[in-house]
Structures are given as C-alpha cells and as structure tokens.
C-alpha cells in the first residue's frame, strides 16, 4: 500500500517537474526568438487572435510531443534521474528551437511573425507554422528514441533528420500546383492545408526510415537514405492509385490561365468546376494535401511493415 501511494506521489512530483521544464522552455523560447517576448510574457487571451492561438499551440504541442519521448529512470537514484532529465530537456529545447528557426528560414523567409500573425491575423500562415512545429516535434521525438538516451547519437541524428525535412519542405514548390508565397500572402486556406499534407507526409516517411539500429554512423545514414529512396520509388504508385480508385479529377487551371486550356476544360468537364490557381478553393487544398499525406502513410507501410524473415534464406 505504501508503495502504491509512494509511486503516485512520485508521478505527481514528476508532473510538476515537467511543468517546470515547460516554464523553462517558455524563457528559452524568448532567448532564441526575441520577437515572441511580447506575447509570452503577458496574459494570453485565445479568442482575441485565433491565428496567434494556433501559432502558440503549435509550439506547445511540439514541445509536448518531444517531452513524450523522454524517460525518467529512477531505478538507481531519483536525483540522478532529475539531473539527467533536465540536461536532456535543455538539449531538446535548444534543438527544437533551432530546428524551428532553420525550417522557418527555409519556408517562410519572406514572412514575419508580427506582420502575419499580430497585424494581419493570417490563419493560413498560422496553420503552416503549426504543422511545421508538430512535424519538428515528431522528428525530434523519433531522434531521441533512436538515439536511445545517448546525446552524441542525438547530435548527429538531429541534423540528418532536419536536412531531410528541409528538403521535403522545399519540394512543395515542385510537387504542388499552388504558388506558395502568393497564396500565403492572400491568406488562402487551400495553400495551408496543401502544405500541411506535403510536410506531414514526408515527416512520416522520415520517421519510419529513421527506425534503425545505430551500429555505425555511416551504415545508419546509408540505411536511412536507402529507405527514403525506396519511399520515393513507391510513393508515385499510391499517388496515382488513389486518384484513379476514387476518380479524383484535378480541376485546377494553370496559373497563366491560358484561355485555350480553359476552353478545353470547359468543353470536357461536364460539371465545369474548374478552379483558378490564383484562388484555389479549400477543397482543392484538402485534396492535394490529403492525397499526398495518405500516399506517404501507405508508402511507409511498404517500406517498413514488410517482414521478409526467412523468405530469402541465409546460408
């Protein structure tokens, strides 16, 4: 009975420790993102600016995801476990914040938080940032898990995963028909959802590819690269198949709005639901993002969930 209560009290104490760690995160966020100082230090009213609420919760949920990957091992000594936790916590804070800074520099270099969130209340921008925070959180959590508590492993897994995520984010302009910067300035929601799908999908692929034993760095990097290459080969199959099976018609007109092509679409499409790429509907964004995200999810099944076992025997 004593043991049960003791364990319960320990859990409550560790919960408060986590809260304290979140408190420390809030201040480390201010150090690395000074522009956030004004909203992090004063009272926050979520209903005033939904874009700001979404932006903030992206960060918080990202931290929450990362913390869910940490462990308290109090088998030997409770104090040691606390110290180890705080050291890990500081390292992951820094990694998380640096990752956000780098990824936003890659994707949102034309945009500024105070302009888009505070002044313009741009929900599209908020959704993009929210998704990026979640993705970074998931990837760092995976890196922590693969590193198995070894900080040196984490310090090479993190840049590797960040590079892969950065490349994935940059491929949006090649994979999607939606002009990113133009539509984000116009607060277009289709763009937000499309981009979210295009970054969540590769995140899943990167996470499943990273689930390997780290025997040696070179071998590990090679294995990850091979899995990602395999994913790139399998992904188009699902992209095409999903569109074919569910009879999805890409009804987006090209950006230059060529009248000949427009006439062709009008003639051939009985529903005549062609959408202009300068103002795509929410449905189109959901379609683009959803198709890509689903395809990536299914691709991760093919790359990691097929167990060959002794199908090809070893001699």
């Amino acid at each position: 009975m004593n043991e049960i209560f003791d364990k319960l009290l320990l859990r409550i104490f560790i919960a408060f420790t986590l809260c304290f760690a979140l408190f420390l995160y809030k201040f480390s966020h201010i150090l690395l993102h000074p522009s956030a100082k004004q909203y992090l230090l004063k009272k926050f009213y979520p209903s005033q600016n939904p874009a700001d609420t979404l932006y903030l919760f992206g960060r918080i949920i990202g931290v929450g995801i990362i913390f869910s990957g940490l462990y308290f091992n109090i088998e030997n000594n409770f104090l040691h476990a606390l110290v180890v936790f705080f050291i890990q916590g500081i390292v992951v804070f820094v990694i998380y914040l640096v990752s956000i800074y780098i990824l936003e520099s890659i994707t949102l270099y034309n945009f500024d938080y105070s302009d888009e969130i505070i002044r313009r209340k741009n929900m599209s921008y908020a959704i993009v940032v929210f998704t990026e925070s979640i993705c970074i959180g998931i990837i760092i959590k995976t890196a922590i898990s693969v590193a198995n508590g070894v900080l040196t492993n984490l310090l090479f897994l993190w840049p590797l995963s960040l590079v892969l995520l950065g490349i994935s984010a940059k491929t949006f302009n090649y994979l999607s028909k939606l002009p990113f910067n133009k539509l984000l300035i116009r607060k277009n929601m289709a763009l937000a959802f499309s981009f979210s799908g295009h970054i969540l999908g590769p995140t899943m692929i990167i996470v499943t590819s990273m689930q390997e034993q780290v025997a040696s760095i070179e071998n590990y990097v090679f294995q990850v690269f091979l899995k990602i290459l395999l994913s790139i080969i399998i992904l188009p199959i699902f992209l095409k198949a999903l569109k074919y099976i569910f009879r999805m018609h890409d009804d987006l007109l090209p950006e230059d709005n060529n009248p000949n092509i427009k006439a062709y679409h009008n003639f051939n499409d009985e529903n005549n639901t062609n959408v202009d790429s300068n103002s795509p509907s929410l449905g189109y964004g959901l379609y683009e993002g959803g198709i890509f995200f689903t395809s990536c999810f299914l691709t991760s099944v093919i790359t990691t969930h097929i167990l060959f076992g002794n199908f090809y025997p070893n001699f």
């Binding site: 090679f222 690269f225 091979l226 290459l229 790139i232 080969i233 188009p236 002794n310 025997p313 001699f315």
Partner: protein
C-alpha cells in the same frame, strides 16, 4: 517522358545501392549453367565426383535456384559447395538428390550420368576389391580409402556385384540409376540418411494457413 526517365534512374540507383549493401545470391554463389560448367569451375582438380545433396528454389516473382554439392576427392577432405543453377538444370535433377551427377577421372574423362555416389570408386582396383568366398560379392575399400565410406554415405550400405553391373548398364545407356531397390535418389532410403545433415533450412517453423487464422482470432501463447 522526363518523369519516367527520372523514375527509372531512381529504381536503378536503389537496386545498385542495395546490391552493394546486401550481399545477394549472385555475389555469394557461382552460377553453374549445366554439367559442362563443372569442369571450368573446378578446373584445377583432375579427379573428383560431385554429389547433389539438396536443392532449393527461392524468390516469388523472380526465382533463384540453388544446388548444394559435396565434392569428393579420393585423397582430400570432401568440400561442400552451394551454387546457383539455371531452371532447366534444376528441374533436370529434381529426383537426383544423393546421386553423383558429375565425375571426372584420372584420364580427364567426364561422365554426366546420374549414378549412385559410389560410382567413381567402386569397381576401380585402385580403391578396393570385391570380396571372395561368400555367395554375394561385395565391395571392400582398402584401408587407405576407408574414409570414402563416410564421404559417399555407405556406412550402412554395402555395394554388391549385382548393383554394380546394373549401374554399368545404365551408364552405357546414359540413364540415371537409383539402385536396385531405389535406395538412392531424392526419396531413396540410403540418400535420406546420407543428406539429412546437409539439407537447406527450408522455412523452419512455417505455420499452416489454419494456424495462422487461429492466431489472428485468439491468443494462442498458452
């Protein structure tokens, strides 16, 4: 067309990199196209017999056929070799496990007729003699070649004159010989004892479909 080219390039890159990472059968095991390849593969050897120990077919869409041989030399330890073979060669020797499928004698004469594993050594006065004074003539190896009895799987089998004569007839006719009472070959009793320690590990622990379904429905760990 550009996308297709890039896709093909990616596939080739993946296959190329995987080949370097994972050793494949092609890298590990040499290819024996047919019996004529044995001479070139064992070109430094002038006197040997090749016994087929086992075979296995792997792969789903693209099959790979493997043979396991025991190379018997009169003066050296036998050697176990695994090779890849072509499909027609594989199908040709489905029934010939335990048989000698290739022999090369001291005069460089090659024989491809599937015969019992003792074919090269029994009847040659270099290795032994026929017993005299009993109703049934049996082959006896000289002491310096007694090790061949284990190598060719004759620990529980004595070669008699009748089997030997029958084997010679089959050799002249170029027909496979499985023993007077089919003791040799894939289902032969003598072969079963000889090859049991050399067989490929063919999917140990394979469950039946019924077992797999039952496991899906309920926990059968107890």
């Amino acid at each position: 067309m550009n996308k297709i080219s890039i896709y093909i390039l990616l596939v080739l890159l993946y296959v190329g990199l995987s080949k370097n990472t994972f050793s494949t059968f092609k890298d590990e095991f040499p290819l024996i196209a047919n019996e004529n390849s044995f001479s070139s593969y064992f070109k430094e050897q002038d006197l040997f017999s090749i016994i087929l120990l086992d075979y296995i077919e792997t792969g789903f869409f693209i099959k790979t056929y493997l043979h396991k041989y025991k190379i018997i030399w009169p003066h050296n330890e036998p050697q176990i070799v695994i090779t890849r073979v072509r499909r027609d060669f594989f199908e040709k020797h489905i029934k010939n496990i335990g048989l000698s499928i290739f022999r090369k004698n001291s005069k460089n004469a090659e024989s491809f007729t599937p015969l019992p594993p003792f074919a090269m050594f029994v009847g040659d006065p270099v290795y032994g003699h026929w017993s005299t004074g009993t109703n049934k003539r049996e082959w006896i190896f000289y002491p310096s070649y007694k090790h061949l009895i284990n190598s060719i799987g004759l620990t529980n089998y004595n070669v008699d004159w009748e089997s030997y004569k029958k084997m010679q007839i089959h050799l002249l006719q170029n027909n496979a010989f499985y023993g007077l009472h089919n003791e040799f070959g894939t289902n032969g009793s003598v072969t079963q004892k000889m090859v049991k320690d050399y067989q490929f590990n063919k999917k140990v622990g394979t469950k039946s479909f019924k077992d797999a379904l039952i496991k899906l429905i309920k926990n059968t760990s107890n």
